[in-house]
């Protein structure tokens, strides 16, 4: 008697070769591929689906950039019943310029999102899909812009809601700060796009993350120091002491635009203070830098363009 015969029919197992099932569902083209790469890049930048070590840097940064908002709101809460003027350790305008933390983040994340594709030779696999070089750049720059925007904007939201809640009248605070509701996102977006383009452009020039990260920081520091030497440090300014040399300061350039967004003009105590049409010149230089960065990116990925 065979072993099979001893087992009741209902209890017998079977091994199936599932074989291959063709896909017959909907299929996207460039837009879908770009979206997929955008999402994959965000996951990579945030360390999602990666080892816990990869998650530390982005979320520590988010914590660091949120601290001023929490402290500001905390002081407001503690002193809410005191007969003293409201104490603000940071304003919405200044908060857009928490750039040293963001700078470190860009130097860390942009190379991590860009360099391995080249170093590990993943690009041919990507461009064998319905994806062009332009789509690739859009997805990569877009992902880093999104994260920088989120990491700059979320603390502002914490600050705004916190200030509203600890104020004497939340409604009065809200109606009294309506202009902040457009100024903050616009200024943060200007900053995020700028850092993302520069970070991606520099990272596209090398396949080594450490080199790209050092180059990003180096560019900002060198231009900042050079501008300081030429123009002088803004801390010592009495107002309107700036000069055109401030425009070579790649680090401070988006902050001049931030000031234009919040104040309607360049901060007179900045390195560009007192320069005729300073805001316009800052905007023009900003656009030139962005175009240069995008030009580098286009050139680096044009080999898949027809």
């Amino acid at each position: 008697m065979s072993a099979d015969a001893e087992i009741p029919e209902s209890r017998r197992g079977a091994v199936y070769d599932r074989g291959y099932r063709p896909y017959e569902g909907p299929r996207g083209r460039r837009g879908a591929a770009t979206g997929a790469l955008y999402r994959a890049s965000i996951r990579r930048a945030l360390g999602l689906r990666r080892a816990w070590r990869q998650k530390v840097a982005p979320f520590v940064l988010l914590g660091v950039v949120t601290v001023p908002a929490i402290v500001n709101v905390g002081i407001g809460y503690i002193t809410r019943d005191q007969p003293i003027d409201r104490i603000e350790i940071i304003t919405y305008r200044e908060y857009v310029g928490v750039s040293s933390a963001l700078l470190l983040f860009v130097a860390l994340v942009a190379p991590d999102v860009m360099c391995p594709d080249r170093r590990q030779r993943v690009l041919p696999l990507m461009f064998a899909r319905p994806l062009t070089g332009t789509d690739y750049v859009v997805a990569k720059v877009g992902s880093i812009t999104t994260i920088l925007f989120a990491f700059s904007f979320l603390p502002q939201v914490v600050l705004f809601i916190g200030n509203m809640l600890v104020s004497d009248s939340a409604l009065d605070y809200f109606t009294g700060h309506l202009d902040v509701l457009w100024q903050v996102p616009v200024a943060v977006l200007l900053l995020a796009v700028y850092y993302a383009v520069i970070g991606c452009a520099i990272s596209s020039l090398t396949d080594r993350r450490i080199v790209a990260g050092a180059a990003v920081i180096g560019l900002f520091l060198v231009t900042s120091i050079s501008s300081g030497v030429i123009v002088g440090e803004s801390d010592s300014f009495d107002g309107n002491d700036g000069s055109l040399g401030a425009l070579i300061n790649v680090l401070a350039l988006p902050l001049h635009l931030r000031d234009v967004v919040f104040l309607g003009h360049v901060d007179p105590y900045s390195q560009l203070g007192g320069v005729d049409n300073g805001g316009l010149l800052a905007a023009a230089t900003y656009i030139v830098v962005l175009c240069l960065g995008l030009g580098v990116l286009w050139r680096r990925y044009r080999w898949v363009e027809r």
Binding site: P22, R50, P130
Partner: protein, 315 residues
Amino acid sequence: MAHEVWQTLAVDADTLLRVTGLTKRYPGVTALDDLTLEIPRGRTGLVGANGAGKSTMFRLLLGLAQPTEGHIQVCGIDVADDPIEVRSRLGYMPEHDCLPLDQTAADVVSTFGELSGLPRRAARQRASDILDLVGLDEARFRPIGGFSTGMRQRTKLAQALVGDPELVLLDEPTAGLDPLGREEMLALVSRLGTFGISVLMATHLLDDVQQVCDHVVMIDGGKLVVSGATDSLLDRTGVVTVDVGRHSDELVAGLARAGLAATIENGLVEATVDGDKEMDLLRDVVADLGLPLFRLSTRLTSLDEVFLRGTGESA
């Protein structure tokens, strides 16, 4: 003008790939030189020595490079007209390492599924199915950095298949594999035909092509050497192999007396026969000598011989 003429050509339903007058020149070198060929659906081997133009051919097929002259039509679509549509129908497995080592196989294959245009959920499901198909079911949640060469080759094949391509381009799929891994990879490639996926396999290993491909394209120095069905290329050589056990010497002597040239190769008698009469004569010699006949077969040419003959090196 030539382009317009090309557009009017009817596309045979069985023709997967049509190349006409394809030339690709780089500064100082011509990678492909006036190549014209048609490749039917099924498994096709693209054979050539290193530098023959195989990789250039793949880049042109994917629309990643522009031909200097000529046209390529894949699945009835001109690559010059719509490279994106062509790419959405192709899968590509490069020869070189190309996988992100710090990600799991499931993540990588799923992401490439999405990049091929599949919705997120479908991509994850197909990634799981395809990794199972290539034998990486157990390892799919491990980082690729810890994979063996064979496992990485399977992952590369999986990412090429996840988008359910009509044609998959395999560039040296057995490169770097041990004999067992090579056999398993060839078995996988062989199965693809049964799934309705056509294969264009670039290799310089003619044995691989002979084992799994039903069509062969041989190129050398950017020029077409030969193209045709594998069976049609493996001609009869006129050499008959006879296995008479320990009596090979006796048979060679007997054949010589009957006027047939014969030699002993690896313990087997190889006799040159021309036509049915000489074949009958050989049979009679074996019978007259009373020798045991274990095997009598005609020897076919190998693809190596076809290639060497085509490139003029056989002499």
